[in-house]
Symmetry: C2
Subunit: 242 residues, 2 copies
């Protein structure tokens, strides 16, 4: 019923910094500022908001963390939009012991993106896409080390997503990269060999070339679930929390 954006626990009085952030958002909105425009200097912002420079700076740090402004020393702050990149930075913190539920969810998401989107992929894919996929997959055989192989594996799936020519989906896929990498790594360290992955990928590509909808969905689903099978029973990252 409660459709408020943030959680209900807003009993805490908002700090001055939070207030300045809100005022800055309003200021950007009121002045119709957009990407490339310059923000007032810190001193001016101090006068506008009636806050000290430290407070303004902390607020500015938040905007920078959001990827909304870019500050060049001794020059000033300009509005940008690197929010997707910033979102990826957010997930560079391994603060959460990734639960099995999260893994399930991400894996389900991948299935939706890569398996259920057959039609769109078949519609959009070009010979160049297929050549790229084969090239990336070929490198998988020559890649040593679990982490490198996982990166290459992820690269293959990213390239497949790229076929959809949809930046939003690509960004979201990039957002899930850390978790996907762990899923892949876990699969590889268990018993799956690069050879295995390579042949599964090839089979997927073959199905695409043949425009065999059923085969594609079956092979991709099997491939994804093979990497995920190891999470089914055991708690995935118990060894992480020492």
């Amino acid at each position: 019923m409660n459709t408020s954006n943030s959680d209900v626990e807003d009993l805490e009085p908002r700090s001055v910094v939070d207030d300045v952030v809100a005022q800055m958002r309003d200021l950007i909105s009121e002045r119709g500022l957009t990407v490339g425009d310059q923000l007032p200097t810190e001193k001016e912002l101090c006068e506008i908001f009636g806050a000290s420079r430290n407070t303004v700076r902390e607020a500015m740090r938040i905007l920078k963390a959001y990827g909304v402004v870019k500050v060049r020393p001794k020059v000033g702050a300009t509005i940008v939009d690197n929010r997707m990149s910033s979102a990826m930075d957010m997930f560079s913190f391994n603060v959460m012991d990734i639960s099995r539920d999260t893994f399930s969810d991400i894996q389900g998401f991948r299935c939706l993106l890569e398996v259920s989107s057959v039609e769109e992929i078949f519609d959009s894919i070009t010979d160049e896409d297929i050549a790229d996929l084969r090239e990336i997959n070929a490198k998988l055989l020559k890649t040593g080390g679990v982490e490198r192989a996982a990166e290459q594996d992820f690269l293959f799936h990213t390239r497949l997503i790229r076929v959809l020519r949809n930046k939003a989906i690509l960004d979201v896929y990039g957002l899930m990269k850390p978790v996907i990498l762990k899923i892949i790594q876990k699969g590889k360290t268990r018993h799956t060999f690069e050879n295995n992955t390579y042949h599964e990928h090839e089979a997927v590509i073959d199905a695409i070339v043949a425009r065999d909808r059923i085969a594609y969905q079956y092979r991709m689903k099997t491939h994804l679930e093979a990497g995920y099978a190891h999470f089914s029973e055991t708690s995935p990252f118990a060894e992480n929390s020492k």
Copy 2:
């Protein structure tokens, strides 16, 4: 070829604050800290990192902006994981004039999530889900005002996504809320009436109840594209940048 995470323009020497952020990430990782654990006090962090308190505070602001820590005054900082919520805060800034490409991408994403996921929806949906959907849709008729109606419309689609029982997908859908709302609003201000939307939603629900895969996909796709049709020719939000 370049698979670096951030852009190439990292010539700028990292500031001390960025350095402290990185060190905090390492500290969290090394000590195996996880959700619920306490971080050292600001003074201790100053000594650990050899930085001044203001610098440490600015770094802490970044972590707070990321939704990685929660600071309670006079108590300290504890590790949390509100990154998805923080991501939504990020997108509360209307700094970018949303391009038609972005609209296209988001709309395509919605199609993938809501249309292509028929099988999963049909598999998972319960009578309670359907009752909720009908109830939400019924409120659409009694909701006045474009913005309120758009919210209610969005609520309907969110509830449908919730059927998938996948938090990752739900979070991503929430992430796209601002853009989706604008798409819906634009559609409504043109010529679509609440009545229209209501009946389209009802038709979708009926298709679900009948487990009619073809009808569902057709109706949902038509419904989504109807709202989006107005963006096809004209530049969507030229009037926004005054």
